[in-house]
């Protein structure tokens, strides 16, 4: 092989490999840019008012998003109560019981449901929960989020259940445990770290969803009472304030973005921590 050719190949090698490094660091720096921008813009607007005050009328400063923070928590609570057990049990079915074709169909449908755009789920929840009772409600928002939580939970539950070694199941059965007892007392606890991680990640994912809430939970200037009234939520408030021309609202949108991102990142980190600890065991 000629010298020139070798030099060419070596140059290409060097250039391409450097480019890949540039790409990787470029992507990571975007993350830091996002965090930095949020911390910079949001941090300065984070004050006690933000966490304790209700929104104020247009033009008056000093308003906050206390109701939106609580609202997001209430919505997540509903999504967890309705979606997590559903996803868990369906995941158990797929990993422990499933028949061949039925499982295939369920898995395919779960992937399909996972891929449904969140706005379409919003339409569905609107016609299912809002129209029949004729008002927007926290419940409707919770249902929309729960539908999104289910496929994510099913997948991760099934994955972690399958990862439990067959030997554990066999040992339990050899000791006389029935199948359901094995699942409940041996398999589930063994996979619990991963399953919990999956659940936490699912909740973190829907915590930031805006589109499905637009026509289910709607929004609320005041505290929302019970579960049947419209409710404010952080993502919807960020959206509404961001597209407005008021600077005070922009500042609050940044602050809310910081809080939301903080919540999501902390959950993600927490989930990974749990997973790492259980793996270590």
């Amino acid at each position: 092989m000629s010298n020139a050719r070798i030099i060419w190949r070596k140059t290409v090698n060097y250039v391409m490999l450097t480019l890949t490094g540039v790409a990787a660091f470029g992507v990571v720096s975007v993350l830091f840019l996002i965090l930095g921008y949020l911390i910079w813009n949001g941090g300065t607007s984070l004050n006690l008012n933000f966490f304790t005050q209700l929104p104020k009328p247009v033009g008056e400063t000093g308003g906050g998003m206390a109701n939106a923070i609580v609202g997001s928590l209430k919505l997540l609570f509903l999504a967890a109560m309705m979606g997590l057990p559903f996803g868990l049990l369906a995941g158990v079915y797929l990993a422990e019981f499933g028949g061949k074709t039925f499982s295939f169909v369920v898995r395919y449908t779960t992937d399909l449901l996972n891929g449904v755009p969140s706005i379409v789920i919003g339409i569905f929840a609107y016609s299912l929960v809002v129209l029949p009772v004729k008002h927007f409600s926290t419940l409707a928002g919770g249902v929309a989020l729960a539908i999104m939580v289910i496929p994510i939970t099913v997948r991760s539950t099934e994955e972690f259940l399958r990862a439990v070694p067959g030997s554990m199941r066999e040992a339990a059965m050899a000791l006389g445990a029935s199948q359901w007892k094995t699942i409940v007392t041996v398999v589930l606890p063994a996979a619990s770290g991963g399953i919990l991680t999956g659940m936490l990640l699912a909740l973190a994912r829907v915590a930031g969803e805006t589109a499905p809430l637009l026509f289910t939970a709607f929004s609320n200037r005041y505290w929302s009472q019970g579960w049947g009234q419209p409710i404010a939520s952080l993502p919807v408030m960020i959206y509404t304030y961001a597209i407005a021309p008021y600077d005070d609202w922009h500042r609050q949108a940044w602050a809310a973005g910081l809080v939301l991102l903080g919540l999501v990142l902390v959950s993600n980190l927490g989930a990974r921590f749990i997973l790492a600890r259980t793996k270590a065991i």
Binding site: K56, P57, V58, F77, M81, L131, K134, F218, P245
Partner: protein, 339 residues
């Protein structure tokens, strides 16, 4: 670890349920963004005066107000465009219109180097929004603005992307002054715009105009005033270039007060009168004629009465004109129609 998580969730749930207060009347409303500044002020002041009543008004656009009211998901709505005969006929229940304030649509713009007030003829506005006039130094604009250095830049048109009464007022005016507009586009809360970017709400449009050089958009007077956006004068039916302000809007409504129909649906765009501002309008609250829930009914009627008497005092502070006295008296009588 899992047990504590479970307990925390349950406590949160319990707390949320316990936090639900009783005895408060919560009214949900939605609609026009046009009057949102004054409505948000009113509902806030009213709540302070009557702490048992909470009115949650979401500014999603007049189209939204009409739609959600008809779907029954809100207790009342707000709209800058009165419901048409077909819409009223299609509605499953009777809806009453109550004018609340007077406002105006203004052409706001953001042109580098132009800080004064531009004059817009009717043909200019129609041409810009039809897309037939594309540059700022078009003859139709320069001849109305001698002495102003208009650049040869492309005009960036901004309109509403949501169903809006502000759009209704604007297109109502354009339909009256331009046959081409009337036949091609028509008037409505949402139309098929030939050109332009869409912004969501008055806020979205004013935000876009503020951020985009050489942009022009139609927004409500209050939003232009509050955000320091330059806006121009519009030529009225008498041929004069009028700037939108309390006086010119009130002048436009003066004639209307005499001819106010019983259902309060009236258009005052292109109103006669030398000092009338041509793109003015009432904005209405849409109230169902029959409300089952007695507490809600009383709350709404109470608010309406307060709005027509006390509430009007806040109008001018936020650059909305007050309703003419004759209209107020007529409305006070009409409140009894809500049963």
């Amino acid at each position: 670890m899992k047990k504590t998580l479970l307990v925390v969730w349950l406590l949160l749930g319990a707390a949320a349920i316990v936090a639900a207060q009783s005895g408060t009347v919560l009214l949900n409303a939605a609609g026009a963004t046009f009057p949102y500044p004054i409505y948000s002020k009113w509902f806030d002041v009213y709540h302070t005066a009557y702490p048992n009543t909470q009115i949650n008004y979401q500014p999603i656009g007049s189209g939204g107000g009409i739609r959600q009211l008809q779907a029954g998901t809100v207790d009342f709505g707000g709209s800058d465009g009165p419901m048409s005969d077909e819409q009223l006929a299609q509605s499953k229940f009777k809806i009453l219109h109550f004018p609340t304030v007077l406002g105006a649509d203004v052409p706001s713009y953001n042109i580098a180097g132009v800080s004064g007030e531009l004059n817009f003829t009717e043909k200019a506005l129609a041409g810009i929004f039809l897309g037939t006039i594309t540059k700022w130094n078009d003859p139709e604009l320069t001849k109305a603005n001698p002495g102003v250095n208009l650049p040869s830049a492309d005009i960036v048109v901004v309109h509403r992307s949501d169903g809006s009464g502000t759009t209704y007022i604007w297109t109502d005016f354009l339909s009256k002054v331009s046959d081409e507009w009337k036949n091609k586009i028509g008037k409505g809360t949402s139309v098929n715009w030939p050109v332009g970017l869409g912004g969501k709400g008055n806020e979205g449009v004013s935000g876009l105009v503020k951020q985009t050089p050489n942009a022009i958009g139609y927004i409500e007077l209050v939003y232009a005033a509050q955000n320091g956006i330059a806006f121009g004068k519009v030529q009225n039916a008498a041929g004069k270039f009028i700037k939108a302000d309390l006086a010119s809007v009130t002048a436009a409504a003066a004639g209307a007060a005499k001819n106010m129909p019983d259902d309060f649906r009236i258009s005052i765009t292109n109103a006669p009168g030398a000092t009338s501002y041509p793109i003015a309008s009432f904005t209405w609250l849409l109230i169902p004629a029959h409300i089952e829930d007695a507490a809600k009914r009383d709350a709404i009627k109470g608010f309406l009465k307060w709005m027509l008497t006390e509430g009007q005092k806040y109008n001018e502070g936020l650059t909305y004109a007050q309703l003419p006295k004759t209209v107020i008296e007529k409305e006070l009588k009409a409140i009894s129609l809500v049963q």
